[in-house]
Symmetry: C2
Subunit: 200 residues, 2 copies
């Protein structure tokens, strides 16, 4: 990104206010219906200032979906207990993160947007695959690393969709501990079980 | 729906052309960016005719997502082999249906739309829950019917998202048989395994 010398960048608080308004809009209204103008209005700033900080709606969106935890750091914690507890640990990381802000957080905004906006698909796929799950299966030295990462991603994505977006009563009503207890065994088997001979 | 006597309804072929154009638009562009005008143009008809048949964009969307199979009939086939094969059968039903039209089918359009458009969430949730999975778990006389249905839904939704929308290479590259072999055991356990004591 080119540095723009001599221009006053505005305060970090202003940038945070814009980000907060943008997360709220992307989450509630989705990508297509979010506008720079609407975000600026909610944040109480001029639209030109939003453009100054972020340059475009797509870049604004990317700035919103900074993961609420550091993937390298948290994946190290997930793998610290070894393979036998990795399934439960990774499901707990997701459920705790999702629950933290009552589902109205950047991950849900990213899921909603990535599912409806092809240009955003790579953000979610790359985050899950490249930054979270490939490091996980690689650290655990598992065979069929890519496939295991994809299968774990499928269950985590589905849990997010069913519990936080479509809100199936039976899943939305579970506590975090209950949700982890139900789903962790499936994720653990994607990590631990032999890959079916049909595929190998 | 009020009957409108005396008005000529147009041919069924015209209605089908509109539906086909609408499915293509909802799938490629999503709900927010699909317009009655655009669908009419693709179908080569006047926008007023689209309104005559469907009344609103939401109703047009609902007409598009008629499931490509009869849920009662297919669920009977899924349960015919008993509990032990139900997991594989239900995953195969979804994968075959998704693969049939190379992912560009109404289910993918519905998933994309339901994830981004709160007003459409109920369509997907009700279809999966009420018409497909509750009849499945009820026919199999399983305990914790709602929770099992929700857990199966989570894995099916996640497979759809990861293989057909986000297109993780490792999952998108599997044949239908391979995908079923990988995911069916997880779905089968959601049907067969005891529900964790943390929840019961």
């Amino acid at each position: 990104m080119a540095e723009e010398r001599g221009r006053r960048p505005g305060s970090p608080q202003t940038r945070d206010s814009i980000l907060e308004a943008a997360v709220a809009s992307f989450t509630a209204q989705g990508y297509a219906q979010t506008t720079i103008r609407g975000v600026a209005r909610e944040a109480g700033v001029d639209p030109a200032l939003v453009m100054h900080f972020f340059g475009s709606k797509e870049r604004l969106f990317e700035a919103c979906v900074i993961w609420p935890f550091d993937p390298e750091e948290r994946m190290a914690a997930v793998t610290a207990g070894g393979l036998d507890s990795a399934g439960e640990q990774v499901v707990r990381l997701f459920v705790d993160t999702w629950d933290e802000r009552d589902g109205r957080n950047p991950i849900v905004a990213l899921m909603r947007t990535a599912m409806s906006q092809e240009s955003s698909e790579h953000l979610l796929r790359d985050f899950l695959h490249t930054r979270l799950l490939m490091p996980l299966v690689t650290a655990l030295e598992l065979d069929h690393a890519e496939l295991r990462a994809g299968l774990v991603a499928s269950q985590l994505l589905g849990l997010g969709a069913a519990r936080y977006i479509l809100r199936f009563d039976s899943l939305a009503g579970l506590s975090a501990d209950e949700a982890v207890a139900c789903v962790a065994p499936a994720v653990q088997r994607y990590l631990s079980d032999p890959i079916p001979t049909a595929v190998t």
